[in-house]
């Protein structure tokens, strides 16, 4: 694979939580530009921890992470730089409750990207239209449904024009009837060529949108394969049991 095709290079990551839980145990993953990688696995397998390490929300104990040529190390400047290029969507939305939808999306554009207010507002409106809630710009998060809140959160992350989007169980906190609308937005993003790393339990979505599936357990990769192969011909016995349980 061509060197500048790689946008995420995570090598030999190790992470042990205080209390001795091993979240990552020599985990490595490379993601190419425009690729959609879906990480699946039982809870506690380290999927979310991996995502959170990618933008420095968690510190790794050992290993190296390079994102778009920028190494993630102890320098604060680089960490902030990486976070500007990596958007993240959380399971619990984490919208800012004291700000309107528009203010939520404007915030980082104005204060991190240093855009003019008017320019930021234009981007915000375009993004809201894209995620299908253009009429909610002046609402507060608590006035929206869970699905709408998550779509605002996606718009907020996209407003930074990130090179990579991380989705940490973005639909797990939603009522079933709202999962579809959020997946639809994610599907659209993938079709536009956004590089995405998605932690999810939605196997239908994984199969349809994922270019590659990574099955994780106990901080390690059990199996990693192109999507068609992963679901049709899993090589590892553990993968077959897991798929048997959830499909």
């Amino acid at each position: 694979m061509n060197a500048d095709e790689r946008i995420i290079e995570a090598l030999d990551l190790t992470k042990t939580f205080p209390g001795g839980v091993i979240a990552l145990d020599g985990f490595s993953l490379t993601v190419r530009r425009g690729e959609v990688v879906v990480i699946i696995g039982p809870s506690g397998s380290g999927k979310s921890t991996f995502l959170r390490c990618l933008n420095g929300l968690e510190e790794i104990d050992a290993g190296s992470i390079v994102i778009d040529g920028i190494p993630l190390d102890h320098h604060r400047k680089q960490r902030l730089l990486i976070r500007q290029e990596v958007g993240m969507v959380f399971q619990s939305f984490n919208l800012f409750p004291h700000m309107t939808v528009r203010e939520n999306i404007d915030l980082a554009q104005v204060h991190v990207r240093k855009k003019a207010r008017r320019e930021a507002a234009e981007t915000t409106m375009a993004l809201l239209a894209k995620v299908g809630i253009a009429d909610k710009e002046n609402r507060y998060p608590h006035e929206l449904s869970g699905g709408q809140q998550q779509r605002v959160a996606i718009a907020r992350a996209l407003a930074m024009s990130p090179k990579v989007m991380l989705f940490d169980e973005a639909t797990s906190a939603l009522d079933p009837e709202m999962i579809g609308e959020v997946l639809e937005v994610m599907r659209k993003l993938a079709a536009e060529g956004m590089t995405m790393v998605v932690v999810t339990h939605e196997m239908g979505f994984a199969r349809e949108v994922g270019d590659r599936i990574v099955f994780m357990e106990a901080g390690r990769i059990v199996e990693e394969a192109r999507t068609e192969l992963f679901f049709s011909a899993p090589r590892v016995e553990r993968t077959r049991t897991f798929l048997g349980q959830i499909l």
Partner: protein, 278 residues
């Protein structure tokens, strides 16, 4: 059958309310009796008619503030200045305590323990007699400094509690957007934290107004000092002290009311209600 049950419930509710009112009037009556009996036993020659002239006088058809109102002006001046400085100091200390820097944490911790575990009166004396010659400041500035240091320590702990009560996800969302620590505090954390702790913060403001009476020990002519002077001249001890207390009450109560109104207005935007299942 069910209508009988409902009517029984209504009667029970009415009886409970009646008992509750009864208790209230009993207690209020007891308080009034205690007060009048006390005043009667005291055998004190009340002379309330001599009090108004210390509040204000009429000269040449124009109202003039008496010594008590002049003292109130000084008290308010000291309180407002101290409130401002205490808030700044409290905020800085709270951020220091939550900082990742060891020095900042130790500094904040030392300041908090020192201030919260010594009497305010001694702190006022310390600032006035030990620090003020070094800093070359007068009694008034010493008073403001001492009160700010004292109330700032309490405000710091209140603000810190407000900050740590916020869900971790707020920090993570701000960080993931690339906001630095300063912007995260300014736009995301503090606006929410301050709203959470507005009631205890207001309580600290009320304490500050009351505690400011201690600056009378530095011969500053605040409300308390004026009261003391008038009592010494006129021997109207109870009348003047009650009046002074009522003036303090008026202002602390007004402050509490203002904050409650602010709180109610802010409630229109609830702080929780986002966050799904988390």
């Amino acid at each position: 059958m069910s209508s009988l049950h409902a009517s029984f419930q209504r009667t029970a509710a009415r009886r409970a309310a009646l008992i509750d009112y009864g208790r209230f009037f009993l207690l209020a009556g007891l308080a009034v009796w205690l007060l009048t009996a006390g005043i009667h036993e005291l055998g004190y020659p009340w002379q309330w008619y001599r009090v108004p002239r210390f509040l204000f006088t009429m000269e040449n058809g124009a109202w003039q503030a008496g010594p008590l109102l002049e003292g109130l002006g000084v008290t308010l001046e000291i309180s407002v200045l101290s409130l401002f400085c205490a808030t700044l100091l409290g905020l800085t200390t709270a951020l220091f305590r939550l900082s990742s820097s060891f020095t900042a944490r130790v500094l904040a911790r030392g300041y908090l323990e020192l201030i919260r575990n010594t009497p305010l009166l001694i702190q006022i004396f310390f600032v006035y007699f030990v620090l003020s010659p070094v800093l070359d400041i007068g009694a008034f500035a010493s008073a403001v400094l001492a009160l700010s240091l004292f109330e700032g320590a309490y405000a710091a702990e209140i603000l810190r509690a407000g900050i740590v009560s916020l869900p971790q996800g707020q920090w993570e969302a701000a960080h993931s957007l690339g906001l630095g620590i300063f912007d995260t505090y300014r736009y995301v954390i503090l606006p929410q934290a301050v709203r959470h702790v507005l009631p205890p913060l207001a309580g600290q403001g009320v304490s500050l107004i009351k505690d400011s009476s201690l600056v009378s020990t530095l011969a500053i002519y605040d409300l308390t000092m004026q009261g003391q002077r008038i009592v010494a001249e006129t021997f109207l001890a109870f009348e003047i002290w009650f009046t002074v207390a009522a003036i303090y009450l008026l202002f602390t109560f007004a402050l509490s009311l203002t904050v409650r109104t602010m709180e109610n207005r802010m409630k229109e935007v609830p702080l929780r209600g986002t966050g799904g299942a988390a």
